[in-house]
C-alpha cells in the first residue's frame, strides 16, 4: 500500500492531461473504457438521485403520518383529562395541566411540548400559565403556525422546523392544535418532533446508494476493459502484422482461430499477404531473369562481335588497297562496329546497375585536376566542332573520396553532350567545393531544351530531337549511366535548360561517402560569371 502511495507521489500530475489525451487518441481500449464508464456513470447518477429523492419523500411522509396520529392521540388524551376535571382553584387547575402534560408526553414519543393560552380571551385568575420546553423556544413555533392554529377551529396544523437536539440543530416537525380547558378558555398545544432518526436512515441509504453506484461504475469499467481487450487484441495484432508487412516482411501472417469476424479478418488478411508475396516474388524473379537475360545477351554478343571487330579492322587497315566503293563500305563497317560495341558496353553497364551489382571503388581524387585532365583530352574533339572549352575552378583542389573512373565517365559524357548540342559555341566547365560537397557544372550555349524535354533528359534511349543525327555516335544511354554513376556516389546530377539559351548540367558529389551533402557549391541556374574572381568565389 505504501508503495502504491509512493508511486502516486511520483506520478507527473501536471503532465497527466496531456498523457490522457494522447492515450485517448492512441488506445481504442482506453477510449472504450472511458466511454463506457462515462455513460454508466450518468445512468447511475440519474437512478441514484431518483431513488434517493423518492426514499426521502416516503420516509418523510410516513413519519409525518405517525407524528400527526401521535399528536392527535395526545391531544385527545389531554382533552379527556381536562374534561373530566372539576378543579376550580388555580392550584388544582395547574395540577390538572401537569397531569395533561404527562399524558401528552406518554402518548407521544416526543417530550417537546408547548402550551399557550390562545390570545383574545378574557383574563382568568385560575387559568394555568403558558409553558414551553426549552427546545421549542427561539422561534421554532412561528407566528404563521400559531395564527393557523388559532383560526383553525381545532384542526391539526404542522410545519417543518429546526429543532436543537444535543446542541445541534436537526430537522424536525412542529404540530399544533387547540385544547379546551373548561372554565379556563382555549389553549394552543404544540408538540415538536425530531426527525434526526429518519435523517440518519436517509443518510445511510444514500451512502449505500453512492458506494454501490461507485462499485457498479468500477465494475462496468472493468467489464468494458476486458471486453475491449478481447476485441481489440486481435485487431491490434492485425494492425501490427500489417505494419510489418508494409515494412517489407512478406512472410508475416495472422493466426486464424475460430469463425468469428476476427478470424475472417485474419483469413482475408493472410489471403491478401499470400497474393502479394506471390506477386512480388514473381516480379522479383522476372526482374532478375530479365536482368540476367540482358547480361547474358550482352556477353554472348561479345564473342561474335570480337570476330567481326577483328575482321573489320583487318579490312580497315588495308582500305587504301581497295576501290572507292569497297573502301567506303569498309569504313562504314568499321565505324558502325565501334558504335555497336559502345552500345553493347552501355547496355551491359546499365544491366549491371539494374541488377544492383555495382560497387563504387573510391580513392582520394583531386576533382579539379581530374576535370582539367578531361578537358585537356577533349579539347581536340571540341575544336573539331568549333567549340572552345574553358575551365574555371575556384574550388575542388583537394582529394575527395570518389571513384575517379566513374566521375571521369560522367564528366566526359556531359562534355560530349555539350559539344554535340553546343552548336560550336563556347562550353564552360566549372568546379567548386564547400564543406561537404564538390561539384562540376558543364554549360553549353546551344539549342537547349524545353521543360518537358528536360524532364526526359535522363531517360534511356531518349533523344531531345529524333530528327537530329547523332554526330558523336552516342548510344542514348549516356545520361542514364551518368545518373546511375552519380547515385552510387550518393550524389546528385541535375539539369537546367532553356530553349535557345543552352543547357547546364550540374554534378554534385559528397567529399566523403560517410558525410551526406548539405548543399551544392554551384547553383543549378547559370549566374553571370565575374571575370578574375578566382579564390574569391563564394
Amino acid at each position: 500500500m505504501n508503495a502504491f502511495w509512493a508511486r502516486l507521489a511520483h506520478v507527473n500530475w501536471p503532465g497527466l492531461p496531456a498523457r490522457a489525451t494522447r492515450q485517448w487518441r492512441r488506445s481504442l481500449q482506453f477510449r472504450t473504457v472511458i466511454i463506457s464508464m462515462a455513460m454508466s456513470g450518468v445512468a447511475i447518477i440519474l437512478v441514484g438521485v431518483y431513488m434517493s429523492f423518492s426514499i426521502s419523500n416516503d420516509l418523510f411522509a410516513s413519519r409525518l403520518d405517525q407524528v400527526l396520529g401521535e399528536s392527535q392521540r395526545a391531544q385527545i388524551a389531554a382533552q379527556r383529562i381536562f374534561d373530566s376535571s372539576d378543579a376550580t382553584d388555580r392550584a388544582s387547575v395547574q395540577s390538572v395541566m401537569n397531569a395533561a402534560r404527562t399524558a401528552i408526553r406518554d402518548a407521544t414519543s416526543s417530550g417537546l411540548i408547548a402550551v399557550y393560552r390562545a390570545p383574545g380571551q378574557d383574563g382568568s385568575l385560575t387559568a394555568p400559565q403558558n409553558f414551553t420546553s426549552p427546545e421549542l423556544t427561539n422561534g421554532v413555533i412561528t407566528p404563521d403556525l400559531r395564527t393557523e392554529v388559532e383560526n383553525g377551529g381545532g384542526a391539526q396544523f404542522w410545519q417543518s422546523a429546526s429543532i436543537p437536539t444535543n446542541g445541534v440543530l436537526s430537522p424536525g416537525l412542529a404540530v399544533g392544535t387547540l385544547m379546551d380547558i373548561p372554565g379556563n378558555g382555549v389553549y394552543e398545544l404544540y408538540i415538536g418532533y425530531d426527525l434526526a432518526q429518519a435523517e440518519e436512515t436517509l443518510q445511510f441509504i444514500q451512502q449505500v446508494l453512492w458506494i454501490s453506484g461507485l462499485g457498479l461504475l468500477l465494475l462496468v469499467g472493468a467489464i468494458a476493459w476486458v471486453v475491449a481487450r478481447l476485441v481489440v487484441s486481435p485487431i491490434r495484432f492485425a494492425a501490427e502484422t500489417s505494419e510489418r508487412l508494409a515494412a517489407g516482411d512478406l512472410a508475416v501472417r495472422i493466426p486464424e482461430r475460430g469463425e468469428d469476424v476476427v478470424a475472417t479478418l485474419a483469413r482475408s488478411f493472410n489471403h491478401m499477404a499470400d497474393n502479394m508475396q506471390g506477386q512480388l516474388t514473381e516480379l522479383a524473379e522476372l526482374s532478375v531473369m530479365q536482368q540476367r537475360f540482358v547480361s547474358d545477351v550482352s556477353h554472348e554478343l561479345r564473342t561474335p562481335l570480337t570476330t567481326i571487330r577483328l575482321a573489320g579492322d583487318m579490312l580497315y587497315d588495308q582500305r587504301d588497297d581497295f576501290d572507292q566503293t569497297t573502301r567506303r563500305t569498309t569504313e562504314l563497317l568499321h565505324t558502325q562496329v565501334q558504335r555497336f560495341e559502345k552500345l553493347l558496353g552501355d547496355l551491359l553497364e546499365i544491366s549491371r546497375y539494374d541488377a544492383g551489382s555495382v560497387d563504387v571503388e573510391t580513392e582520394p581524387t583531386n576533382v579539379a585536376q581530374l576535370a582539367q585532365d578531361i578537358v585537356g583530352s577533349m579539347t581536340t574533339l571540341a575544336e573539331k566542332y568549333g567549340s572552345e572549352l574553358s575551365l574555371r575552378a575556384p574550388g575542388g583542389h583537394f582529394n575527395a573520396d570518389v571513384d575517379p573512373r566513374r566521375v571521369r565517365r560522367i564528366v566526359t559524357n556531359l562534355i560530349g553532350n555539350a559539344i554535340e548540342h553546343g552548336e560550336g559555341k563556347p562550353i564552360e566547365i566549372e568546379v567548386d567545393s564547400n564543406a561537404t560537397a564538390v561539384a562540376i557544372a558543364v554549360r553549353d550555349y546551344g539549342v537547349g531544351m524545353t521543360q518537358e524535354q528536360t524532364a526526359q533528359a535522363f531517360s534511356r534511349f531518349w533523344r531531345a530531337d529524333p530528327s537530329r543525327q547523332r554526330t558523336l555516335g552516342g548510344t542514348g544511354l549516356g545520361l542514364a549511366i551518368s545518373l546511375e554513376d552519380t547515385r552510387v556516389h550518393q550524389g546528385t546530377l541535375d539539369v537546367w535548360a532553356s530553349p535557345g539559351r543552352g543547357a547546364r548540367f550540374r554534378l554534385t558529389l559528397p567529399r566523403s561517402q560517410k558525410v551526406p551533402i548539405a548543399s551544392s557549391p554551384l547553383s543549378l541556374e547559370p549566374v553571370p560569371v565575374v571575370p578574375h574572381s578566382d579564390g574569391g568565389a563564394a
Binding site: R302, T303, I308, R309, L310, D313, M314, L344
Partner: protein, 226 residues
C-alpha cells in the same frame, strides 16, 4: 625463330580470326578449343605465350590457368567477355599476367602480346639487391642466399622495375606503364594482384612485407621504408 602462341578458345570463328591477325603480324598460332585438352596442347605446342578464354567447355579457364602456372611461368593473357570485377580478379589470382576484354581490336591484341614478349629493359646495373634478395638482370634470375626463387617473367619484370630505382616510390599507374605497357589509365587491380603474388614468393612473411613495401596512398617501393 618465330614466336609461338597458343590460342585457347572454344569459338572457332574467333580463334580462326585471331589466328589470321597473329599470322599477319608474324606469329605462329596453334589452337585448342577445349579446356580439358588445354594442358596437353600446351605440352605439344610449347608456346611462348598463351591467349586463354575464361569461358571454356570441359574445364574452366581459371582452372586451366592455375594448372599451366603450376608448371610454367609462360605469359598468359586472358580473353574475357565479362568485365565483372570478380572474374577478372579470379583470373589474375590464378596467375594470368594480363587480360583483354572482348570485343578488342587487332592493334590492342598485338600491343598486349608484344609487351609480354619483349625482353626486359636493360638497366645500368646488372645485379640488384633488395634486402636479402639478389636480382640478376642479365641472368634473369632471383636468388636468396644462393637459392633460386622461381618467378614468372611478369613477376621478374615487376621486381626488376622496383629494384632498379630503390629510392623511388612507384605509383600503380607508373608500374602499369612500365611493366604492362599501358599508355593510358588501366585497371590498377592488375598491379595489386601481382604484387600479392610476388610477395607470396619473395617475402619471408607476406603479411608483413619487407622486399616490396606499400606506401599508403601512393604505391609501392623496393625495400623497407628508411
Amino acid at each position: 625463330m618465330t614466336t609461338r602462341i597458343l590460342v585457347v578458345d572454344d569459338d572457332s570463328a574467333l580463334a580462326e580470326m585471331v589466328g589470321i591477325v597473329l599470322r599477319s603480324e608474324g606469329f605462329e598460332p596453334s589452337f585448342c578449343a577445349d579446356g580439358s585438352a588445354a594442358l596437353a596442347a600446351f605440352h605439344t605446342a610449347n608456346p611462348d605465350l598463351i591467349l586463354l578464354d575464361l569461358m571454356l567447355p570441359g574445364m574452366d579457364g581459371i582452372e586451366v590457368c592455375e594448372q599451366i602456372r603450376s608448371e610454367s611461368g609462360v605469359p598468359i593473357i586472358m580473353l574475357t567477355a565479362k568485365t565483372d570485377a570478380t572474374d577478372v580478379v579470379a583470373g589474375l589470382e590464378a596467375g594470368a599476367d594480363d587480360y583483354i576484354v572482348k570485343p578488342f581490336n587487332p592493334k590492342e591484341l598485338i600491343a598486349r602480346i608484344r609487351t609480354r614478349l619483349r625482353p626486359t629493359q636493360i638497366t645500368s646495373a646488372q645485379i640488384l639487391n633488395i634486402g636479402d634478395i639478389v636480382v640478376d638482370i642479365s641472368g634473369h634470375e632471383v636468388t636468396r642466399g644462393g637459392a633460386r626463387i622461381s618467378l614468372t617473367p611478369l613477376e621478374f619484370d615487376l621486381l626488376a622495375a622496383l629494384a632498379s630505382k630503390p629510392a623511388q616510390v612507384f605509383t600503380r599507374e607508373m608500374l602499369l606503364e612500365q611493366v604492362w605497357g599501358y599508355q593510358y589509365k588501366a585497371d590498377t587491380r592488375l598491379v595489386n594482384v601481382h604484387v600479392q603474388r610476388l610477395r607470396s614468393k619473395v617475402e619471408h612473411d607476406a603479411d608483413n612485407p619487407t622486399i616490396v613495401t606499400t606506401v599508403r596512398g601512393v604505391g609501392y617501393r623496393a625495400g623497407s621504408v628508411v
